[in-house]
């Protein structure tokens, strides 16, 4: 099996056939930098010294023309052909608390959440081990390439994995999930990944902000917070950004948690003013970051933030939190759903 050496011996790991450099490294407990795992964020950039790799997606948006000129590759999109010398900056924070593993899982239930989001429940033989807010790669029968989906539940011994998935018009994986896959179907599940997990030890108040299918990991983080053994004076505020009133979701799940309405708050903003009016929406009509700023006011600077959703929403939130309010990046944890 190919041996991958990082920075002339700073780290080394073997790569199973078919695995990518990124995932093989993480499986071996090596802190390769990453965020999305799907070629979009650019965090896993590196250079190949000696050796050869197969690039599964040479046009990946995570690389700029300048990167390509400089011969850089994305560790999440490349598999080694033989031994490889890799150069990139290792990130101690990326060393996985739970090394990811591949397994088989069976679809056991599908539940409607909104007109275009469904909950998909899978079961695996061994325990479902992950931190609140992490994601898995699902490989679906008949779909080329795996897709990333975030767990909505908490780690458990029953081997249960719950996902909230939004149908993407014309999408390969979501088309398969919504139209063909029936309970009993087997899929490949490689998990856990992701660094936007709940920092249970942080004493700060928590703010979770979700847009669209970003609901899943924010539910998981909130469930992790609600599972703490004692009320400790902290609070969690959950904000959901929906396009239209028909897209609003999350309240039913949160209302079941202890402290709902007390130290667990839930607020929604609908962004499409026309749709809001047509539906007789009486709640807030704005972008979700405007709701967050208006609600939290001066408290904004003291909180720990968790964000999940479409790249545009995350960008608006980072602009608000980081550029405008100068909240340090280590207090903002996010996944962009590319």
């Amino acid at each position: 099996m190919p041996l991958i050496t990082v920075n002339d011996g700073e780290a080394a790991f073997v790569c199973e056939p078919g695995d990518t450099l990124l995932r093989a490294g993480l499986r071996s407990g090596v802190g390769l930098p990453y965020e999305c795992g799907v070629g979009a964020c650019g965090c896993c950039r590196g250079e190949v010294g000696t050796g050869e790799v197969i690039d599964h997606w040479p046009a990946a948006p995570g690389l700029s023309d300048r990167d390509r000129r400089k011969g850089r590759i994305l560790a999440c999109q490349c598999s080694p052909v033989g031994d490889v010398q890799l150069r990139l900056r290792l990130d101690p924070a990326a060393v996985p608390a739970i090394p990811p593993r591949r397994r088989t899982a069976t679809l056991v239930a599908v539940n409607d959440v909104t007109h275009d989001i469904r909950e998909f429940v899978f079961r695996s033989e061994e325990a479902a081990a992950f931190l609140p807010g992490q994601f898995a790669f699902l490989s679906l029968p008949g779909v080329e390439r795996e897709r990333a989906y975030s767990m909505a539940n908490l780690a458990n011994d029953r081997g249960e994995w719950r996902f909230y998935i939004r149908r993407v018009p014309g999408g390969d994986a979501t088309g398969r999930l919504f139209d063909t896959l029936k309970p009993g179907a087997e899929v490949g599940l490689d998990a856990p990944y992701g660094q936007a997990y709940l920092r249970a030890e942080s004493p700060r108040d928590i703010v979770c902000i979700a847009g669209g299918s970003g609901l899943a990991p924010m539910l998981s983080v909130t469930r992790g917070y609600a599972a703490r053994t004692a009320r400790d004076g902290r609070r969690l505020d959950f904000f959901y950004g929906a396009r239209t009133p028909a897209d609003v979701c999350g309240q039913a799940e949160l209302a079941m948690l202890p402290g709902y309405g007390e130290d667990l708050g839930f607020q929604v903003a609908v962004s499409d003013a026309e749709a809001a009016q047509a539906a007789g929406w009486t709640g807030r009509t704005s972008l979700v970051h405007e709701l967050v700023e208006a609600t939290l006011g001066d408290r904004l600077g003291q909180c720990e933030f968790y964000l999940a959703g479409p790249p545009g929403m995350i960008e608006a939130l980072l602009q608000l939190l980081q550029t405008k309010h100068r909240i340090p990046p280590e207090r903002i944890h996010f996944d962009r759903f590319f």
Partner: protein, 110 residues
């Protein structure tokens, strides 16, 4: 306007970090004799852009951490994973000195 350094302190194609009390560090860039001042900390993580590589042809600085990039003159993100613009500050050269319109004091987050 605040004086940050002398023009001679920042050779062409290089940068220099300036720490002022009570505000996040600044970066002074010299692109072929034109001076620019931006925040020094990358908007993607806790990295100093003055430790990064400057690409004079593109007018871009690359973050030493994940190699995200910014256009030095405008602060615009110019390479993943950076998506949030850097703050840039108006610059004035008075004699040999580099001045920038930075807010005198910024409230840091607790």
């Amino acid at each position: 306007m605040k004086m940050l350094c002398n023009t001679g302190d920042v050779p062409a194609g290089e940068s220099r970090r300036i720490e002022l009390p009570g505000r996040p560090p600044l970066a002074v860039f010299n692109l072929d004799g034109s001076f620019y001042v931006t925040d020094d900390t990358c908007t993607h993580g806790d990295a100093s852009l003055c430790d990064g590589e400057i690409d004079t042809d593109d007018g871009v600085v690359e973050c030493p951490y994940h190699q995200g990039a910014f256009e030095i003159a405008t602060g615009r993100p110019a390479g993943a994973p950076c998506t949030v613009a850097l703050r840039v500050y108006p610059v004035e050269i008075r004699g040999e000195a580099v001045y920038a319109a930075v807010e005198e004091v910024e409230t840091a987050c607790p």
